[in-house]
């Protein structure tokens, strides 16, 4: 796909800068709370930025429960810390909430909760998003509504069997309004899903695309950090003709954006501190500056290129 040149979308450079802004916010929030899943928030960032800033997802931040909205289910609820900066930035709630993440009186929890504006359902325990998304997608079918139901899962979340129960049902019901995304960062809590180097690794998920094809999904595999591939795939979601749920396996790096964290073990819920923190932040800020665009404060306006 050609790089977008029209003026109704932020450029890929803008989006890349926004992604680094999100990562920097995640670092600040995790540091404040001394908690939060930094590495998993870093792997999902580009996909979320594309969905929320790239007009791929229909929503109205001033009316979070607008009936025509696409439902976005963050089934990997530990990724909440990486979605909150985006929700605040697009207007669901004041950015000041980010400053006291998970603190006294704050509305944001470590895991995504339904009472946070812009979050649909409670997640945090894995394997709950997809079964509920199936019910939501079927309800839309029953009512003749055209919105889509997006469900983002972690790849290691797929070890929970309820996902496969729901996958069978989604396919059986021909839920073509269900768009699943797997943040395929290749890591769980202890080890790697498919790079087997000891008992902490596995069990193997590959061949993951073949599994979902066999389960009846319209399956795509993309680079989840490449905006071109992300837009190329998600721009199709509203005009598919195949009567199947869609599955986008977004290959990502856990901890993407930081050489210290990326693809390393034991960063699942570890918060970088001291020199580590400086190292991670410096690299993110440097990458943000490299884009030559956004100052890192999220200043571009959605839908209007500066």
């Amino acid at each position: 796909m050609e790089k977008r040149t029209d003026n109704t979308f932020p450029s890929f450079d803008d989006l890349a800068a926004k992604a680094q802004w999100v990562r920097n916010q995640v670092l600040n929030m995790a540091t404040f709370a001394n908690s939060g899943h930094v590495s998993t928030a870093f792997s999902q960032t580009e996909v979320l930025v594309a969905l929320y800033y790239g007009k791929l997802l229909n929503y109205n931040s001033k009316e979070p429960k607008w009936d025509g909205r696409d439902r976005f289910i963050l089934s990997k609820g530990q990724g909440g810390i990486g979605l909150y900066p985006i929700l605040a930035d697009v207007g669901y709630f004041p950015k000041t909430e980010l400053d006291s993440f998970a603190g006294r009186g704050n509305i944001l929890g470590v895991h995504a909760e339904w009472n946070i504006p812009g979050i649909e359902i409670i997640t945090g325990s894995l394997g709950h998003g997809l079964p509920m998304a199936v019910g939501m997608a079927q309800a839309a079918k029953n009512d003749g509504k055209n919105h889509l139901v997006f469900c983002m899962l972690g790849d290691a979340e797929l070890y929970e069997g309820s996902n496969w129960e729901a996958a069978i049902m989604a396919s059986h019901l021909e839920l073509d309004n269900l768009i699943c995304i797997i943040d395929r960062n290749g890591q769980g809590v202890m080890g790697f899903t498919d790079k087997i180097n000891g008992p902490n690794d596995g069990p193997r998920l590959n061949p993951l695309d073949e599994k979902f094809k066999a389960f009846g999904f319209d399956t795509y595999v993309i680079n989840g950090h490449d905006f071109s591939e992300i837009f190329n795939t998600f721009s199709k979601v509203r005009n598919r003709t195949v009567k199947k749920p869609m599955m986008v396996i977004a290959n990502t790096e856990k901890g993407h954006g930081s050489d210290l964290i990326a693809n390393q073990r034991m960063w699942h819920y570890r918060v970088p501190k001291g020199e580590e923190l400086n190292q991670v932040r410096d690299q993110i800020l440097a990458q943000m500056a490299c884009t030559g665009k956004d100052s890192g404060q999220g200043t571009f306006t959605l839908g209007k290129k500066e």
């Binding site: 997809l130 079964p131 509920m132 309800a139 729901a166």
Partner: protein, 330 residues
């Protein structure tokens, strides 16, 4: 070959519930049934005549509860139906998070309360559901003792704004109520038999056992009131106390583990309300059951048969309600 006549099919409490529910489904497309591959003769009318209102997810209870919750999230009133242990303990986290924590209008229907699936072993016994389900905020817990009560519960399900769990017995349980209306079952419990000495409170099939024991106790000169607790949560404390404080002591009888069951509920309530009435909790001690031969065999081993119940309650009464020491209780 010797043949028997056509077996008489006794409408079960599950079937009277579904029969009462069906007209509501016909009138409102927003009522949706999700089954985990569990059928019933009375459910066939839903399957055959209501497209888009009945889904069979297969033997997949997590999927059933999740889907029902997703439907309810979108404004539907949904029902998730399975065998009782599989819609309670097997999917406890789905019930807790998908349904109760978001206070969604999902009614969980479990058939086979207690030892209803007697010879099928602990996999199919449901003797911990009262304690675990009543622990969940927002969840209403019903345990009907007869088909008349369960029939009335259908309307209460349709009216419910939040989650419910209904534990049904299997077919063949006789009727306790006659000419009752839905409004008769809004109170949560009812006094089936008056008594002066003690109150026996029970739920589900054990209400029948309590009535039988009360009859035997009368012969021994003990006047026992019998209370049917068909709604376990929320408990109608005021009505309960108005009944039981007329007597000197309380016995609870349940086909359920004693930990956190109906007896535990009453102990909590007495403590909270400052009631110092003697309380005897009868039910299953801290063990699983692997005994075959039928429900009555299990009752005999558990002390829930009429003879044992009568004897235990008589002894307790004659001993002036002295504490009963039991092995393997905790």
């Amino acid at each position: 070959m010797k043949t028997t006549g056509t077996p008489k099919f006794i409408r079960g409490m599950r079937d009277t519930y579904f029969d009462s529910l069906f007209p509501f489904f016909q009138k409102d497309k927003n009522l949706i049934m999700v089954s985990a591959d569990n059928g019933a003769p009375s459910l066939d009318q839903f399957v055959q005549t209501l497209p888009g209102q009945f889904f069979n997810v297969g033997i997949a209870e997590a999927s059933a509860v999740g889907m029902a919750a997703g439907l309810a999230f979108e404004g539907k009133k949904s029902f998730a139906y399975a065998i009782a242990p599989f819609i309670s303990s097997r999917v406890y986290e789905q019930v807790k998070l998908d349904v109760c924590a978001m206070n969604l209008p999902v009614t969980l229907l479990g058939v086979g309360a207690g030892y209803a699936y007697d010879i099928m072993g602990p996999s199919h016994h449901t003797t911990e559901d009262i304690s675990i389900m009543r622990a969940l905020p927002h969840l209403e817990v019903y345990s009907p003792a007869d088909p008349v009560c369960s029939s009335a519960l259908a309307q209460l399900s349709v009216e419910a704004k939040g989650p419910q769990y209904i534990r049904f017995d299997r077919a063949g349980i006789g009727e306790l109520y006659t000419q009752a209306t839905v409004n008769d079952f809004r109170a949560g419990l009812s006094l089936l038999k008056q008594g002066k000495d003690i109150s026996i409170l029970s739920t589900g099939v054990m209400v029948h056992q309590a009535l039988a024991a009360a009859e035997e106790l009368e012969k021994k000169g003990i006047s026992a009131a019998v209370i049917d607790l068909y709604r376990i949560k929320p408990l109608n404390v005021e009505l309960l106390l108005s009944y039981c404080t007329e007597t000197k002591a309380m016995v609870t009888v349940e086909e359920h583990l004693l930990a956190g069951g109906v007896g535990g509920l009453i102990a909590e309530t007495f403590s909270d309300e400052g009631i110092s009435m003697p309380l005897l909790r009868l039910g299953q001690n801290d063990q699983f059951v692997f005994d075959y031969g039928g429900r009555e065999v299990i009752w005999e081993k558990t002390g829930l048969d009429t003879v044992s119940l009568t004897q235990t309650i008589t002894n307790w009464t004659e001993n002036k309600f002295a504490p009963v020491r039991r092995n393997n209780l905790r």
